[in-house]
Symmetry: C2
Subunit: 523 residues, 2 copies
């Protein structure tokens, strides 16, 4: 059948469609969906009635008014004082009217423009965007067969996957921490690799003023931008976590203040693990998360009214047997949906994650990750962190998992395409049904042939052959197929084009900053 | 931490909770959720606007009015003639007014009562119920390591899993076809096994009058019911497929007519595979499915007004490369959601499935199955067939996959529990947040200790330990853990209690029907 259809397709000289694109590209390792900004038109799943939203809002506001948040950042304490908040030591209490006034200053939507403007991302609204796994200290692949500390080579390969897959929209933090590079200069080498290997929106860690300033400078240089151009619109973003419960530490707030003052975007993501750093009840953990996030966002809006902010969720629960964090649980899904309701209540773009507790890329890894990804869809999430490559609660990055996750992400993208549920007369296909009649088949008719190349999602790593064909081909399980694809992708990878002058300037900057000693490592 | 909490729990002498139950049971192989009827309060995901629903309805009605459905069943043709439909040869055309009048006769909700009345199921409304995989000809497990024809022993073990897991609400068809039993008496042996091993709602195949009549008689005997009691309320169900496109065959319609005349439930599930037996467009495949299903349901309502009917969906798409059916695809998900909208439009309970194309219980199996199960949730499905144990597009039954799927089903059940998103003052937990303050932790406080035993979903086969603990324990991947659990469950399985007289009567019935030769096997 496939051959008949392919021939029929060829006869019709269809120039569009994925098959046509693949033929033109010639060397494609595999078919994948083109780059696109998926729009999520599904009505979000909303467990909370309006009074539930009010209850969480009131809880968060009472935390800010009555209990307060610790800010271990002198500058922030001064700014809060200036804004009229009640500052005692490092504890800051703030009234709900002021908090809401500040939050209302934040834009509902904004864009981030990387060095390749074709990769500009809209943040907020209906857009749902995916980023690679960020920050695991360890690496695991099928070849290594065990958990090992991350290296620059691992990290670069994961950047290649980040760039290769069109369903990955933004480059998160280090996809694995390269512990073979000294901490003082690690940010320079990794960001250099990232800016060479990818042309997608880049993240920078808020880990001290030197690192964040270096990162901004490198993104500016890579984009061939003047300072004015850099500041004119967001070019990059950072993501900070609070130290739950109820605390923001020095470098994260400092990094954000530096970012917003140069017009860059910040994502504030408390990590409220119910039963450990947050109440055992999900509504309590969400209320705590909201309070922590809004306290920082209010500060940023005080400093730079209208600066681009995203509210993140990383609320999950511990395994009460082992104390380890669990991910992709029913409680995680509902917390994400609840946070989605709160983000819409506050008019803020939202970040969630693609996460699991599994240690290897097996069945558990995929049901947990599927649960977390679908809850991101259901909650109206705009940025999905860790969407590809995450294992062991974020302690391991795996290229096989990356490839497998990209299959799920592509399916989510395809799921968003209105063509799938079109009900125009050609889609209802009454004449085709009449033509084929009872007991016939639809393989050869024009209605099928005209559409077959783009009618259905085509997988990258799924094997849809029957058991016998699959067995003859070696009986390869998914994780091994993913491994082979990973090797093919990195083996044939070509870096995206980059202006030679910008590249040289970037290399010079890195060399100079290394000579200067990089960033201090005493914190 | 776990020990501290366990001790704290013991001190508080909590009698409720899963931990308490487990302790009392003593011999439990594993913790699982108790039997319950999950209610799905989520607003369904509805890709179609109202005019899209109208377009599919109009398409289905025009198929019935203009093209017609083949009924290869003489009795049905006579009944359609009697009802005033236009019958030409085996082709039946029916007006939309009549079809809708008949469909309106069907109940929105009904119950099915098995031999153990504690397992009575509400079909329709908000209830979402799960059944085991049904009808694969082949079996695969980790020990066998390859695809083999199903046997009575395999089938019985899969019934044991069906009975063991509280998240499995109904016993579907044969969980694997036992080809070691002659086809003439297979239904007698397998239904005997099913009625001994499980006390849950049972299915019977509509494969000729002898088989379906035997099945009804056996369910009646097993339940110790008089004919009057058997007929008084549904005690069992059958599920039929049309022969898409546009055809209903003899034994399936015959079986349904026999079932509804004795007050039993029927599920009508066309298998419209887009691009093969149905239009390549999903709306066309759904319209065809709706037309085929409603034509049979209308007939049944003509014969037995108000008889319990369920509309099923099995709309998916082929892999355009291999021609094999694909499952759990984005197109599958949207077709299921669309059919959910149509089922609500017609006021009929709905059936969907938990399905995948994968050949082994690996990552692909679980993302495809997760996609299909979540689309069942999103579409407001009432009965989820094949929810545990399905591989290779339904050609393989696997006990490992069964156990793995039950983890996902339990998570869906937990996801449905309103306690997860409760926002009462105790859940917002302001006082606990105040008590713990900044930088503290929630492990030991009363708010946590009072709730930890039931606060979070506890897994059955997921391993939530960190990599090192998992590695020391053998580094066992999910499918192998599932295999071990399968062996433990069947090794310690105890049949549910059954009245000795009923058991003897059932054995006598089987013996007599075998002496009589069972069912003819020439069709």
């Amino acid at each position: 059948m496939a051959n008949d259809l392919a021939e029929a397709g060829a006869r019709r000289k269809r120039s569009g469609g994925r098959a046509g694109n693949a033929a033109r590209r010639g060397t494609a390792v595999m078919e994948q969906m083109p780059w696109r900004i998926p729009l999520n038109h599904d009505r979000p799943t909303e467990p909370l009635p309006p009074e539930g939203v009010e209850a969480i809002h009131d809880g968060a506001m009472r935390i800010l008014e009555e209990i307060g948040i610790e800010f271990l950042n002198e500058e922030a304490l001064g700014l809060f004082r200036e804004a009229g908040c009640r500052v005692e030591g490092t504890n800051v209490r703030m009234g709900r009217d002021w908090v809401m006034e500040m939050v209302r200053r934040a834009p509902h939507e904004f864009t981030i423009t990387p060095r390749n403007p074709d990769r500009t991302l809209p943040i907020g609204g209906k857009a749902i965007l995916f980023g690679n796994v960020s920050s695991p200290p360890n690496y695991w692949d099928m070849e290594t067969g065990r958990k090992v500390p991350g290296t620059r080579a691992h990290c670069a390969n994961l950047f290649r996957l980040t760039q290769h897959f069109n369903c990955i929209h933004f480059a998160g933090g280090y996809p694995v921490e390269p512990v073979d590079i000294h901490a003082s200069v690690r940010h320079l080498d990794v960001l250099f690799d990232k800016l060479m290997i990818t042309d997608k929106v880049a993240h920078a860690y808020a880990l001290g003023k030197e690192r964040i300033e270096d990162a901004m400078e490198m993104v500016r240089i890579a984009g061939n931008l003047s300072e004015e151009e850099f500041r004119a619109t967001p070019r990059m973003y950072t993501n900070i976590n609070s130290t739950s419960p109820l605390k923001h530490d020095q470098p994260m707030i400092d990094g954000c203040l530096r970012m917003i003052r140069r017009g860059q975007a910040v994502v504030v993501t408390p990590f409220t693990l119910a039963g450990a750093m947050a109440p055992v009840t999900m509504a309590g953990a969400v209320a705590l998360s909201i309070a922590e996030a809004l306290s920082a966002i209010a500060l940023f809006q005080w400093v730079a009214p209208g600066c681009p902010c995203v509210i993140g969720t990383f609320t999950s629960n511990v395994d009460m047997k082992s104390g380890a964090p669990a991910f992709g649980t029913p409680e995680y899904m509902r917390a994400t949906q609840m946070t989605g309701q709160m983000a819409r209540f506050y008019g803020l773009p939202m970040r969630a994650s693609g996460v699991c507790a599994a240690n290897v890329p097996d069945g558990q890894a995929m049901w947990e990750t599927s649960n977390s990804l679908w809850s991101a869809v259901q909650s109206g999430t705009n940025m999905v962190y860790h969407a590809a490559g995450w294992l062991e609660g974020g302690l391991i990055a795996s290229p096989e998992k990356f490839v497998m996750d990209c299959e799920v992400l592509q399916m989510i993208q395809r799921y968003m395409e209105p063509a799938v549920w079109d009900t125009g007369p050609d889609s209802i296909a009454l004449e085709a049904i009449r033509e084929v009649g009872a007991g016939g088949h639809y393989f050869g008719i024009p209605h099928t042939q005209d559409r077959y190349a783009t009618a259905f999602y085509q997988p990258i790593v799924s094997d849809w052959r029957n058991y016998e064909a699959w067995e003859i081909a070696g009986g390869v399980w998914t994780q091994e197929r993913a491994h082979r694809l990973f090797k093919e992708i990195v083996g044939s990878f070509e870096e995206p084009p980059m202006d030679a002058g910008a590249r040289e300037a970037l290399a010079d900057f890195v060399a100079r900053r290394k000579r200067e000693g990089g960033a201090p490592t005493d914190f």
